[in-house]
Structure formats: C-alpha cells, structure tokens
C-alpha cells in the first residue's frame, strides 16, 4: 500500500545500483535530510542537543565505522573506545598546534591519524580470526588509553591530565567551547554524519565493499577469486578507524569539551558501540543509525518513564536502567538476531502488501 516497487522500472544499471533504488525510499530520504538540515536547527534547544541529538549523531558515525569492520568485513573489534580516544587526542593536538586550522580539517585529520593507527592494530588480523582477533584489538583499547594517560605530551603537560577543547569558530559561529550554540554543534556533527553515511554506502555497494564481504563470508574462496586478504582487511580497518576517529574527535571537541581519557573512552565505550552495531544490524548502514538511536534513546526513555511518570527516586531508576537495558538487549537478540535493520526490512515486506496480503 504505502511501499511498493511495482511500476518502478529501471532502464539502466546505474539506476539499479543507486543507494535507494525504490522511488518511495528515495523521497523519504530527501524528506528526512530536509528536516534534519532545515527544520531541526530552528527548534533545537540545549537539552535536546546534549541529551539526545549530539550523542546520537556522534555514536552513529562510530557505529557506521565499526559496522564496516565487523558487519561488512567480519573482523571483530573491541578497540573502538581506544580508536575514539586516538581521534580525540589527535584532534586536540591539531587544534592546539595549529590554532588557525579550520575545525573541519582538524576533524578530518584526526580521522586520518586514527586510520593509520587502526591499520597498525589491524595487522594481526591476517593471522588470527574471531575471538582471538577481538583480544588483539582489546590490546589496542588498553594500550591507547594507557598511552594517553602516561605520556604528558599528548595532553600538553596540563596539570589535571585532561584535555580541554579550545574555542574554535566556523563561519564566525563558535562550535566548540561552552558558548557554542546548540544548533551550530548539531549542524557540524550532522554534516559529518551525512558524509560518513554516504561514503560508507558508496564503498559498500561497490567493488571495495564486495571484497570486504567476500572476506567475511569465506576468506579462502575470496583469495581464490583474486582478493588480496591483507589489503582488503587493512582497508577495512583503515576506513573503519577513520570514521571512529572522526566520532572520537567530535565526541571530545563538540560534545564533552573536556576529556579524561580513562573515563570517556574506556572499554565500556567499545562495548556500547559494539552493542549498537549488533542491535542495529550487522552489515547495514541503516542498522548503524537504528542501533545508535536505540542505545541513546533507551536510557532517556527509561528515565522519563521512571522519574517523571512514576515518580521513583533518580538513583533507583539509574540502577534499574542498567538491568532493563541489559535484559532488553538479551531479549532483543534472541527475538531478532539480525537486528533492527532486519525488523525494518520485514516491516517493509508486510507494508508492501498491506492491507490485502493475498
């Protein structure tokens, strides 16, 4: 009824391999983009920006990055928190070393640095697989956090050991620091998320993505048909770390403003983003969005229900929140192991025929 491909004919391969082959999807995508860019900035306030929108945008970038590695290339990684820290510290060093550099460039450069570091930690993936690789990437997590704690050069020898984002402007509007307006930080992150999603989608529908998926599904067959496993895996690590680094830089510079590495980018961050990817759906860019939204919104929703509606004490709700989130994750994974993206796909299948299923 609402959703159908009948009558939506393609006359070229180009039209068939576009991101949204179905016209309805394409228009919905334009509408969502228009709302995100043209409507939300005018109605946004500090609460919405800091509690929901900024974390969603930033985590979605990280989830896209991790999804490329885990969902598309099949290389399990637990080092996401460490790579986010790498992005944050690289961004900080660029911001302080080159005060005149545009913030946009800073964030991109932070991504590039993280991509290189990610490739280094991806080297063992040629030899080890699965859980063993996860342990190797766990080393990245602990090593990077340790490094940023112990080497004062990374935090510019500040007494507190923290890094603080200096004020930077973009087109005359502050986007970092305490005075930055919510709409400006929101738009800045939104631009990065849109670009990340586009790039991820373009890569995964082309030959690079097919190499990754071939490695994921059967690495021996992939090698026989001419995929160089080292290059494919390292490129996945590089692209993945690039996005994760960007999200780390944004998380530090625009969202938190000040970061203590052991707190902001610890192992829990790695797991949080891995949960987003698994719950959202492995091997789906849309799933990264859905997973990030789920993990960001769930605590907020529980708090609203518990504190505001039921009038429970805040600490009780905070404790219950952990229990409920954990239980929901388990239930969810049993009910739908392929994640929210699969649920969405099924819903679309149903909607295609609704209300006349025969």
């Amino acid at each position: 009824m609402f959703y159908r491909e009948a009558g939506d004919f393609k006359t070229s391969y180009r039209a068939d391999s576009q991101t949204f082959p179905i016209r309805f999807d394409r228009y919905r995508y334009y509408v969502v983009l228009a709302i995100a860019f043209l409507v939300v900035p005018f109605i946004i306030n500090d609460y919405w920006a800091n509690a929901i929108l900024l974390p969603f945008l930033i985590y979605a970038i990280a989830a896209i990055g991790l999804n490329i590695l885990v969902g598309y290339c099949g290389q399990l990684s637990l080092g996401t928190g460490g790579f986010m820290a790498m992005g944050a510290y690289a961004c900080y060093k660029f911001m302080t070393a080159f005060p005149d550099l545009s913030m946009f460039i800073n964030v991109i450069l932070a991504g590039v640095v993280t991509a290189i570091v990610g490739m280094l930690f991806g080297l063992p993936s040629l030899r080890i697989k699965g859980f063993y690789l996860a342990v190797a990437t766990l080393a990245a997590q602990f090593f990077l956090v340790w490094l940023f704690n112990r080497v004062p050069w990374f935090y510019n020898y500040s007494a507190s050991g923290q890094i603080n984002a200096p004020q930077r402007t973009m087109f005359g509007v502050e986007i970092t620091g305490p005075l930055a307006p919510a709409w400006a930080t929101y738009l800045f992150c939104l631009v990065f998320l849109t670009l990340s999603a586009l790039i991820a989608r373009n890569l995964t529908r082309g030959s690079v993505g097919r190499k990754w998926m071939a490695i994921r599904d059967m690495d021996i067959a992939a090698e026989i048909i001419g995929v160089n496993p080292l290059r494919a895996k390292l490129s996945a690590f590089a692209v993945s770390s690039f996005f994760v680094g960007i999200s780390g830089a944004l998380f530090f510079a625009l969202y938190l403003g000040a970061v203590e590495v052991g707190e902001a980018f610890n192992i829990q961050k790695s797991f949080l983003i891995l949960f987003m990817v698994i719950i959202g759906g492995l091997g789906s860019v849309f799933g990264s969005f859905a997973g990030a939204a789920f993990m960001v919104l769930l605590p907020v929703a529980l708090k609203v229900v518990g504190v505001d509606l039921l009038g429970w004490p805040t600490d009780t709700v905070a404790h219950f929140q952990l229990v409920i989130v954990g239980a929901l994750i388990i239930i969810f994974l049993i009910a739908e192991p392929h994640g929210l993206a699969q649920l969405w796909r099924l819903a679309k299948e149903k909607l295609r025929l609704w209300p006349f299923p025969y």
Binding site: R14, L198, N202, R210, D217, M218
Partner: protein, 272 residues
C-alpha cells in the same frame, strides 16, 4: 601421440589449439603422504580436459596445484608459455585462472548478483577514494562490469534470482551461480571441481549443457574433475586418469576406456 605445438581437430569438428598449461613432473607431498607422484600432462587451448580417478587418487590435489592453492615440492607449472613462479592464490586469479569448488564456496551473505560481481574484482581497478564519492570513473567501471556480469547471468539462465541472497537457493542453482562467478572473471582457464556432484539426472544434463555451451560460446579452456563416467566420456576431449597419485592413462575418452590399467583401477584386478 600429439605434437606439443600443433593443435588437432576433434570428432565434432572443433579446433583445439596449442598448449595453454603444462604440468611437468609434479610431485606433491603432505608430510609422508605422497598425494601426487611425478605427473605430467598438458591442457590445450579450447579443449575440455577431464581428470578422473577413484576416490583418493589425488584429483582435487591436482586441481589445487593448477589453481596455485598448493605448491608442489617438485616439478614445474607452465602457463601460457612461461613457468609460473611460486605465487599467492590471489595472484593466480589475476593470471586468468578461475575455479569452482567441490563443496560450494559462494559468499552466502550476498545476493547472486553481488556474487557474480565478485568474479569481476580482478578487472576492477578504481581505488577507495574515487569509490567513496561514487564519482565518474568508479561508477563507469561499476556499470561496465555490471554489463559483463549480466551477460553471464543471462547465459546461465539465472536472471530471475539475481537479487536473491545465495543462502536461500537450492543446491543445483548454487552450483550454477558458482559457475557464473568463475565465468564472470573471463578466465583463460576454467577449473571445475566436481561440477555435478550431488545433482540429479536433470540437473546434471543442465550443467553438462552449460559446460559445453561455455566452451563453445566463449572458447574457454576447461579442466574438470568428475565422478560420473558417462558425463566425463561425453563431455571431454581428453582425459587424464589418476590412481594413488600416479597417472595411469591419458588420451581421448575412447583410448582411456580401452586402457587396461584404467580398467584394472576401476574394476579391480583378478587375483588367481
């Protein structure tokens, strides 16, 4: 016997060219087990060459040597007039050798079309950066290779399932998709490891027709392993027979059929 450089004409009038691949005194060992012992044979341009033999004769090992997956301890592999150095399996694919597997080795998480497109990977050169933004070159390359892939899909009559995930397909179709993926690479030598294993008569007939068509239409040189004797004798131009890692026969199907060693290997020898 045949002259090394000259070709010959088959009974049905097809022209078989010069030697494409030549195996010279190949010996392959796994620890103490000798899988292949001092075997030499050649594969000629445009022919269908079968490797047969009882279980454990070393046929699959031989195919793995040709496809570069195993490196023999002794002997030389010559491909298109040059001795092949020790290369990685993915470099063999770039030389123009494609293969299918005995147990299907498709990418289960991808659609049929994507699987066939992976066969084109050796022909696709654009880098990550231009693909990131799906600009000019990357898109032109994608479309051009899609056309080739679609031709193969048409040829093997799997248009109706091109968007279906491979994991949902029945066995016989998966075998056909795997053949499509190998063909998409436009190989100069196509290796088929038991293309008809586990199929019923009808599927075998289909597959035989496809193999003959591929050979006919694209002129692809094919080397195949098969257990079904009827199929092998009908399809192939020349047959190598292996037993216990040795070559016990080599020639046209008729020659091989009347070879006493081959008969002994398949039917057993009377002990009196």
């Amino acid at each position: 016997m045949l002259d090394a450089s000259e070709g010959f004409t088959t009974e049905d009038g097809r022209r078989i060219g010069g030697v494409v691949m030549e195996m010279k005194n190949i010996t392959l060992r796994f620890g103490g087990v000798v899988a292949i012992q001092n075997i030499s044979f050649d594969i000629r341009e445009g022919e269908i060459r079968a490797i047969i033999g009882p279980n454990g004769a070393g046929k699959s090992s031989m195919l793995n040597v040709i496809s570069g997956f195993y490196v023999p301890q002794e002997g030389e592999v010559w491909f298109e007039g040059r001795q092949r150095p020790k290369v990685k399996p993915y470099e063999v694919a770039r030389q123009g050798i494609a293969r299918t597997f005995q147990n299907i080795a498709l990418f289960e998480g991808m659609s049929v079309l994507d699987n066939v497109m992976t066969g084109r990977l050796t022909h696709m050169k654009t880098g990550i950066l231009s693909q990131s933004f799906w600009l000019g070159r990357a898109e032109a390359e994608e479309t051009a290779n899609r056309e080739v892939a679609e031709r193969i899909i048409d040829f093997l009559e799997i248009q109706h399932i091109r968007k279906t995930p491979v994991s949902r397909l029945p066995y016989g179709l998966k075998k056909r998709v795997e053949l499509a993926r190998a063909l998409a690479a436009e190989p100069r030598l196509l290796l088929l490891d038991e293309p008809m294993a586990g199929m019923n008569v009808e599927e075998k007939e289909d597959m035989s027709r496809f193999i003959l068509d591929v050979n006919d239409e694209f002129g692809t040189t094919i080397a195949l392993i098969e257990h079904d004797m009827g199929v092998v004798m009908d399809l192939s131009d020349r047959v190598v027979v292996m037993d216990y890692g040795r070559k016990i026969g080599d020639g046209t199907p008729d020659e091989v059929r009347n070879n006493q060693d081959v008969i002994d290997a398949y039917l057993g020898v009377a002990h009196d």
